[in-house]
């Protein structure tokens, strides 16, 4: 016999309790600590900070723990938390030239001022499962060597800057305007470059990866070079109005990628290189590279190129890049749709009846 669907409140409470118990796992196994997540699952924490759009490793670790290891869910928690935070100041643009570099490579030049620094990377590792990690592994001391004397005095100018000086690449000049903030004003089309870049920096890594990849396979006209990728620590500073000078408020770790792409030019525009830009919280080279590819593809309209591939279409890319929006809307299909389904049922039945009547009539 039909019993109206009631008791929703109790079911919800019990479901949450069950989730909490499953998340904790076997009580005999020691509970994972935030320091362990932050210290040993750093790349997961970095991804959550990037997509959660909040630089706070401790809160990101908490999100990962609370989300049972679901990184998108963890990013969602960070997003929901950051909405409520007051905006106290607008930071000055980061000085990426002044980065304390942990890794820096260029695929465009064999050697360059400052040299190539491999840093901690999965590149060139053989992806063989290392069974020595099954148990407890001892700490590992990294090798250290003094800086290469040939490069020590050169500093580390950006590859793009070197090309700019020769007039081979568009110079990116500050516009003087405050950048847009998509968390404070709705996304509008056509979007400014600052809005695009903010959208991409918060975007789902997998989505950007696929979009960037599509430009390499011919959906879009990209022949990119990884001009430079750098990872390291930069200082964030603000200029309080009452002081009038910059005050450092902390250091953050970022990954930056500048992709260099040829631009054939036109009658009035000489051929030159153009840049796609990627900047992501934490160590996230795959995302920074993908972001740079997509940024360049989205500049098609500005550069007068034909917009024909998905990655060049800003409405397509920017409206579908956010995994918090996407996961919510995809998963809302779990919510009851009894009423709509009922009206579809009634309509399909009526249409079939009409069809059957027609056939009988023939």
């Amino acid at each position: 016999m039909y019993v109206a669907v009631k008791g929703g409140e109790r079911a919800i409470d019990n479901a949450h309790k069950l989730l909490a118990s499953r998340r904790r796992g076997e009580p005999e196994t020691p509970e994972i600590g935030l320091d362990q997540i932050g210290g040993q699952l750093k790349l997961a924490v970095d991804r959550v900070m990037a997509e959660g759009s909040l630089y706070d490793p401790e809160l990101a670790s908490l999100g990962i723990k609370q989300a049972w290891g679901d990184l998108v869910e963890a990013a969602f928690m960070l997003r929901a938390y950051r909405t409520t935070l007051p905006r106290l100041a607008l930071s000055a643009p980061l000085d990426l030239d002044d980065m304390e570099v942990a890794r820096r490579i260029s695929a465009a030049f064999k050697d360059l001022p400052g040299g190539q620094i491999l840093g901690p990377t999965f590149d060139y590792t053989h992806r063989l499962l290392d069974f020595s990690l099954v148990g407890v592994s001892p700490g590992i001391e990294p090798e250290t060597s003094p800086p290469d004397p040939g490069h020590a005095e050169e500093g580390m100018p950006k590859v793009a800057t070197l090309l700019e000086r020769q007039g081979l690449m568009d110079r990116e000049e500050p516009t003087g305007d405050n950048p847009e903030d998509l968390t404070r004003s709705p996304l509008r089309m056509p979007a400014s470059r600052s809005a695009r870049l903010q959208n991409l920096a918060r975007a789902d890594e997998g989505f950007l990866l696929a979009m960037g990849y599509s430009t390499q396979r011919g959906f879009g006209n990209a022949h990119p070079f990884a001009g430079e990728i750098r990872q390291g620590t930069v200082t964030v500073s603000i200029v309080p109005e009452e002081l009038g000078f910059a005050v450092d408020i902390g250091d953050i770790e970022v990954t930056e990628c500048e992709m260099i792409t040829q631009f054939k030019g036109s009658k009035s525009d000489p051929p030159r290189f153009t840049r796609g830009y990627g900047l992501v919280f934490g160590l996230s080279e795959r995302k920074a590279m993908s972001m740079a590819l997509v940024d360049r593809a989205l500049r098609a309209r500005d550069l007068g190129e034909e917009v024909k591939a998905p990655a060049q279409d800003e409405e397509f890319v920017l409206y579908h890049s956010d995994n918090i929006e996407a996961m919510g809307f995809v998963q809302h299909l779990k919510l009851p749709h009894y009423v709509d389904f009922q009206s579809e049922l009634a309509m399909i039945r009526a249409m079939r009846e009409r069809l059957a009547d027609d056939e009988e009539g023939v």
């Binding site: 016999m1 039909y2 019993v3 109206a4 669907v5 009631k6 008791g7 929703g8 409140e9 109790r10 079911a11 919800i12 969602f76 997003r79 929901a80 950051r82 909405t83 409520t84 007051p86 968390t183 404070r184 004003s185 709705p186 996304l187 509008r188 089309m189 056509p190 409405e315 409206y319 918090i324 929006e325 996961m327 919510g328 809307f329 995809v330 998963q331 809302h332 919510l335 009851p336 749709h337 009894y338 009423v339 709509d340 009922q342 009206s343 579809e344 049922l345 009634a346 309509m347 009526a350 249409m351 009409r354």
Partner: protein, 300 residues
């Protein structure tokens, strides 16, 4: 219920509420026009009512009485979740009674009980753009609204008729508001469309993910699109509600077994249980043979 002092009243900060209220005022001034607003990231997922929640949060006062329904019912899980959210963050009075509520947040239904002046109905909207499935580009659809260029919508409805002999849109049926803007009524069944017309209550629509609000002010014309020779019509059922006997309400189909047995009951659970209680009070013999009145239908 006391509200959680860790959060501002109704969760959103006052600046955000002001921003949303300004967007709502514009929406009321231009009925059916979609106003962009800086939607916030709520602690509930996009697609689960974040637009409606932000609208409710921005208009709620501590004097309000809130009702939340999903699919017509106060007890569906997401309605429970949203109602609890406001109990926790705003501490407002809640009710399941349509006529007792000052603010009603809804997903997919308009209550059966007629709304009155002073009440506000807040709709949760997934896709605010009625032209979206004909034209996916926002830049284009905004231009179409600006130019009142709604030909594609009529072509779509005409194609339905030529293919199926009828307009094959059963919910989210497009309406023309104030003789100017074509508007999505949100995915309510078309059964509910006529209730929007000249309704004494204020109707507000919030789409969080899509960052839009729009409105139908009280006593505004809302016309379901149709053709002279194919006038708009609503769903009807062959049998009345199996619980309360109503024959003028929207019914949900309940599957009883795997042999195809089914029954039809009101989707508006408050309306249905009140009718049952009234019938039981008036004449306990009158409804002999029907299931026990109000079985399991008290508010949780």
């Amino acid at each position: 219920m006391n509200r959680d002092p860790q959060y501002n009243f109704a969760y959103l900060d006052e600046q955000t509420k002001r921003m949303i209220r300004r967007a709502l005022l514009k929406a009321v001034a231009v009925p059916g026009y979609q106003v962009p607003f800086a939607s916030r990231e709520m602690p509930l997922p996009y697609g689960w009512g974040t637009g409606g929640i932000q609208v409710t949060a921005s208009i709620l006062t501590d004097q309000d009485t809130l009702k939340v329904i999903d699919q017509g019912s106060d007890d569906t899980t997401n309605a429970v979740s949203i109602r609890r959210f406001f109990q926790r963050t705003a501490g407002v009075e809640v009710t399941t009674a349509t006529d007792k509520a000052t603010v009603i947040q809804t997903r997919h239904r308009i209550p059966e009980h007629a709304l009155a002046e002073g009440q506000v109905l807040v709709y949760q909207v997934p896709i605010p753009e009625p032209l979206r499935f004909m034209e996916p580009r926002e830049t284009d659809t905004r231009t179409m609204h600006a130019l009142e260029e709604y030909g594609v919508m009529h072509v779509k409805l005409y194609e339905d008729i030529s293919l199926h002999g009828r307009i094959a849109t059963s919910y989210n049926y497009p309406v023309l508001v104030n003789d100017r803007h074509v508007m999505s009524p949100s995915p309510i069944p078309r059964f509910d469309n006529p209730k929007m017309h000249m309704n004494p209550a204020l109707q507000l629509f919030g789409a969080g993910r899509e960052q839009r609000v729009y409105a139908v002010p009280p006593y505004t014309s809302v016309k379901s699109l149709d053709f002279e020779d194919h006038p708009f019509s609503i769903d009807t059922w062959d049998e009345p509600c199996a619980l309360c006997g109503a024959s003028d309400t929207y019914l949900d189909e309940i599957i009883l077994d795997d042999g195809g047995a089914r029954m039809f009951v009101c989707s508006d659970s408050d309306h249905c249980s009140r009718r049952q209680a009234m019938a039981a009070g008036m004449d306990s013999d009158h409804r002999a043979g029907s299931p026990a009145p109000a079985a399991g239908t008290e508010a949780a």
